[in-house]
């Protein structure tokens, strides 16, 4: 249905919609379409592409480093989603209950979010290497060290952000429902699992989605903290793709094919996650 105002506004497309759309075309649509096409080509710049069919994809799938970084990334994402969400929820829950100085604590926990990934990586490089120096080791001692180092870094960064979203959710909860439960003699545990958590599903959806996709796409922190060392064992998927592109000449096509696979995984997570948890949302 187009309203009268809509018809008048439509004529102003060149002023209102075109600047964004033109930039969107250059900054997103064209690179995306070219990226899909180039994943079926052999190339070193975008102008010398030669169609090679599925060759890049078979090379990507045959690459054992790619699989290793995929498993590494999945494990990293699973661990961090669980830890970040549980801790952030717990902190938010306690801070909404009359703890003195709650606002100061909230500010402190949120602060790491404002610092960029590269800088965070070097801050934690100093801290973790400082601790590990006692055993004459460093964060690049093995892939497992890098894994837990990145888990700590990522939790430190993300807990504050998710805590803010949970606090917003908790403050919007209808107080009368919880009071009614208390009057009816529900224990605090029952109130938590039967009322608070179901009502908090929208916030939980958003936070799981954000932690999952952010974790899956993490790059800067990985680059600064371990840069994949030792011998690529602490390499997350995004870093693996980056190094395939820019680390080895002649592998640009394989890198692009990996990027397409990466995109498909992220897209599937986004869609499945959205479907799953919107169906589980409850209203009071």
């Amino acid at each position: 249905m187009i309203t009268m105002a809509g018809k008048t506004i439509r004529k102003w497309w060149a002023l209102f919609a075109l600047p964004t759309f033109a930039s969107f075309l250059i900054g997103f649509i064209a690179p995306f379409v070219m990226g899909i096409y180039l994943s079926f080509c052999r190339f070193s710049t975008v102008t010398d592409a030669k169609f090679v069919g599925l060759q890049n994809y078979t090379a990507a799938i045959a690459d054992r480093e790619f699989w290793r970084s995929l498993v590494y990334t999945v494990a990293f994402t699973l661990v961090t989603v669980v830890v970040v969400n549980i801790v952030a929820f717990a902190i938010a829950y306690m801070l909404t209950k009359a703890v003195k100085g709650a606002n100061i604590f909230r500010s402190v926990f949120f602060m790491p979010n404002l610092i960029g990934g590269i800088i965070l990586g070097y801050i934690w490089l100093l801290l973790l290497n400082g601790v590990l120096a006692h055993w004459s080791r460093s964060i690049t001692y093995s892939g497992t060290y890098g894994f837990w180092g990145m888990v700590m870094l990522y939790c430190w960064q993300q807990i504050g952000y998710m805590m803010i979203i949970y606090i917003a959710g908790l403050q919007a909860l209808p107080g009368d429902v919880i009071e009614a439960a208390a009057v009816d003699g529900a224990s605090s545990r029952q109130t938590m699992f039967r009322i608070t958590i179901p009502l908090m599903m929208p916030s939980i959806t958003v936070c799981t989605f954000l932690t999952m996709t952010n974790g899956f796409k993490m790059f800067d922190q990985n680059l600064a903290l371990t840069n994949g060392a030792p011998s690529n064992t602490s390499e997350l998927l995004a870093l693996n793709i980056y190094r395939t592109f820019y680390g080895r000449a002649g592998f640009e096509g394989v890198g692009q094919a990996k990027a397409v696979i990466f995109f498909l995984i992220v897209a599937v997570i986004a869609i499945v996650q959205n479907r799953l948890s919107t169906s589980r949302e409850v209203t009071a």
Binding site: I2, T3, M4, A5, G6, I9, R10, W12, W13, F16, A17, T20, F21, S23, F24, L25, I26, G27, F28, F32, G35, L38, V46, M94, L95, K97, A98, V99, K100, G101, R106, V108, M111, P112, L114, I115, G116, G117, I118, I119, Y122, I123, L126, L127, G130, A133, W156, I167, L170, G175, T205, V206, F209, L210, T213, F219, A224, A259, F262, N274
Partner: protein
Amino acid sequence: MSDKIKHPGLWGVFFTVVSLAWIFPIVLVVINSFKAKAYISRNAFSIPTGKQFVGFENYTRGIERTNLIASFGWTVVVTVGAVALILLCTSMCAWWIVRVDNWVARTLYVLFLFNMIVPFQMVMFTLSKLADMLSLNTPWGLWFVYLGFGAGLAVFIFTGVIKGIPQELEESAMIDGASVPRIFFRIVLPIMKPAIVSVAILETMWIWNDFLLPYLTLDMRKYKTMSIAIQYLKGGYGSVDMGAMMGCLVLAIVPIIIFYLICQKYIISGVMAGAVKG
């Protein structure tokens, strides 16, 4: 939700301790920024006294080696320009999409939604080559790259807000003879102000800290943002000058913390509002 908990004092102590632990990594960087570089990796937890203490030497060396002042300037130019452009263009575009609501507008909206789930690695190679060909490899060229790649979230949040604004106001203004731009800038934009602040915060946090996009897109011989300058300090294969690194890290963190202390209220409510994404 402000019912009493048991032992409020104990929880206060608990959170004080956790908060102190939370800022410890940053304090540690500040301490080490005054330490001679040879002691930093061996003795990260010592207090710099005597011959370990080097004053501001790490800072001056860090600034010299990375040209950090210039990088700070470029980061400001990129961030302020890109955020301003994003706010102006996407708010106009979102209004156009909601009010026109024909198949073009709806297709555009779906494309913007799609943009939100595509990771940067998918387009990084082609985007950086394209930016190069179109001479967008300057800080001001980057404004348009950010507008293009970052449009999705902004359009999504703005359309959500505009759908809640009753159209009657705009229609009566139109009958009174107001032009379309005038209606947008005088009536719609003021109503959107809280959403604009939220989007400004979210986009600033993203662009100020972004590393890979400017690294691949900008002409590295002329322009480096702060994250890039710090990453360059690490160099190829050689060891890192940890002293200069600490100095640079502190200098990169201080402006952010000042900004945070001033705009804290807006930042936190911006994040809360941005949480509708998903």
